[in-house]
Point group: C2
Chain length 234, copies 2
């Protein structure tokens, strides 16, 4: 059993709570049985730590688990994983232009899988996929999606001939309930405060808005994204 | 300027971070100019505190603001408010059966206002409306909704003759895209882990599910609620 928080391996892995070290090592941590199981299925697990008997796990004390975990109440098992590799794109795409909140990103990933998105393409200023809050909010669905980081303008320019590109426009967009969705699509969703950047929006073939009461100014971006994906899902 | 965190008024209001004291005093705190403005419009403000010149505000030091605030990075202005009073029900109702996450509750309130819900009826075990995370996620929309806490079974029994009651059922429910919505409605949404309790669900007139990919087991409850309200909104 590893009982010392000064163990070299523990000290190294504890640093993975910071994005900088995740990038440097190409590793990230998932916590809890469900996520550890999903990671094992994907064959990306490098090391497992648990406070009780768990297959293939190194046994650690509660204190060591607390050191490794990013959570106030650490799970009893966690896995150190290799970052997910990119797959070939073969289906509908959701493009994210600067999402900042890790909970929003995780919830968006969960909804994207639910409504048939194959690939998420995130701008370079989007919050980190491997943030603990993102991973938790995704409920394990980050293992089901093809996730790329790209310059969005360049990416959309490249796929413009083969994909129909949709985005939101609360002022001039048509009612989303009245448009026909064409597959394969790219749907571009913007930042929480500022929406889609102008340059990126200029590449859209069609713009829509979600009809709603004038009592409410806007929807949460994870909510708006889910509604659009739901509407386009057959 | 109030500079001492031991000032009696500051000590009293700082306790409002805890639900127990909010209930006892019938008071809660909102932070940031936008929410303070909205609270002023509703005429529920008892006291305003700010670290700069602000209409009607008591000037306080940064330290005092930190003591009053529930946030890691406190806003520069906050208001102590009287809890919102109940209005008469006159429209569509969203019933919440034991929502536990304050962010989910706030996001649900925002979507409910967006999609024409007049009244939210929450079971007694639903997370507190006046939790700072709920208030923030609602983006000020908590001031736009009629919010009641009730025993849901008793409430739904009472309104059963005048309202059509809908709920979710992922196993036997029909496809939500195929049902006609009847106004006024009550839509009952359940707890994050366990869904709607059996007794409450037994009062529903119609059950539906949201069609989705079999790669994903379930949606976040705030997402599912928004999609249903969107589908029912004309």
């Amino acid at each position: 059993m590893i009982e010392s928080v000064n163990n070299e391996l523990i000290k190294k892995y504890a640093k993975l709570q910071q994005k900088k070290y995740r990038m440097q090592e190409g590793l990230f941590i998932v916590e809890g049985e469900h996520l550890v199981d999903e990671a094992c299925k994907r064959e990306i697990v490098v090391d497992i730590f648990a406070t009780y008997e768990y297959p293939e796990a190194k046994l650690v004390s509660d204190n060591v688990m607390k050191k490794l975990s990013g959570l106030d109440s650490p799970a009893h098992v966690l896995a150190v994983c290799k970052m997910l590799s990119e797959r070939e794109i073969k289906g509908n795409i959701l493009a994210l232009d600067g999402i900042q909140d890790p909970g929003n990103l995780g919830t968006i990933i969960r909804s994207a899988v639910a409504f048939g998105v194959d690939t998420i393409v995130a701008s370079s200023d989007t919050v980190d996929l491997y943030n603990q809050k993102t991973i938790r909010a995704s409920e394990g669905m980050l293992f089901q999606i093809n996730y790329l980081k790209r310059d969005l303008y360049a990416f959309l320019s490249d796929v413009h001939d083969t994909y129909k590109i949709y985005t939101t426009d609360v002022v001039d967009g048509c009612n989303i309930k009245e448009i026909m969705c064409q597959n394969p699509y790219v749907i571009v969703m913007g930042n929480e405060g500022n929406g889609v950047s102008e340059m990126v929006a200029s590449l859209a073939d069609e713009r829509f808005h979600i009809p709603m009461s004038d009592k409410c100014e806007s929807l949460n971006v994870a909510i708006a994204t889910a509604i659009i994906l739901y509407q386009f899902f057959n």
